[in-house]
Amino acid sequence: MSAHAASSESVAPGYVPRTIDANMGRPAAPALTDHPPMLIPSLGRRVAWACVRAALVLVVIVIVPYYVLSLVNGFGVSTPVPILGMAALGVAFATLGAVRYVSRPTRAFGPLTIAASFVSFVYLLYLIPLASIGLQHGGNISVVVEFGRFLQYCLIAPLFGMASGAVTTYEDLARPRERINYEYAL
């Protein structure tokens, strides 16, 4: 069974990927068209890889912060960040990122890129007012470090992500064949 998308998969209209599954994995000879040769992973493979990515994202943005916060809490370091909110938005972000990855060969990729970036934007906005860690030392010295301004700078990244998604959305609408030819180009 081919590990790559068949032409009947619900990719964007007009996307007719040439596969290399025939001839025992050897690439087919390039056709004499304007499109470069490309290789679109099958839906199953994309889903599997998206799950791995989502798991990694969850580890990085939910499990590690939770573990670190729990660890430092033992040393008297506290933070007002609620783990439930952080986990909920982290799961939403990881899920959207996975769905976005799966939808890469389709027209949904652009809107999902915007959505994923938007969720990370909201995630940061949610954290900004809570962004502080406190430490009590010896009963009479306390230290509070606020890093809300750092998270404000971090908002730049999802803004670029949303802009990128908007351009992709426009590109897929205006020139349906264009992106896919380069997204999975060999």
């Binding site: 470069p36 670029f160 264009e178 992106r179």
Partner: protein
Amino acid sequence: MARRAPALYRVSGLLRNIGTAVLVILIVFLVTAAYSAAHLRPEVGGNQSSSSVSLDPNGTAVLTESVNLSNQGYYSISPLTVSLEISNATTGAILAVGGSAPLTIAPGTNASIPISIWVPLTGSSEALITQDEALVERAWVNATYASIFVIQLAGGSNYSWGAPFSGFTASPGAPSLQPNGTVLVPVTVSFENKASFPDAGTFDFNVETAGGASCTSGSVPVDVPGGTGMYQTFSFYVPSSCDPAGGSIHSTYSGSGLDFVLPSEAIP
């Protein structure tokens, strides 16, 4: 030969890459800032030996504290402000507040920030003239580190205030009639100067009858260095027309900018 990707595709990729680059730069910055901040070494208000008390010309006690900060990291601290508050440990009354002007501490430097706090020895603080007090000194440091991270440090410590006229008493002795017809009133003044500044000025005494009429007054010079005491008897002669028995003696101190009324004593 590879074909050049379409403009929209390249723009989209460029935007995505810029976003990723921004994130990577910020994470690198965060890691270096955290590592750098681990090399900050502040010392705030925990050591009475690092502070000193002096008396300024207008009679206000000036408590000078020094906050040491070692910034051996990569980023500057700017601005940094320190605020101090002195309160009475027993009553909780705030006696004085003070602080420093905003400062900048460059990376790789050690800074000693002198902070002065003026304690007026009047009003609610007047007891500090004659009574040793347990005070609470609280310090707050507000700093912005690496232009992004706001650090708030609060510390408190107990402070033992040594009064410049600690345990002041002006004890009148029994009046005695003198051969010349006047009445001798001996007054023994005793106190300890537990402050670090000298008591240099004059005592003014006023002997009053039980009815409040003034019998006589006089002044004596005082020069008692810090850490020493005074135990001295002064003689006041009152006209025979004035009976000090059952009256009182009132004393005031003037000097070094201080001008205050000391506790009055009854004459036996």
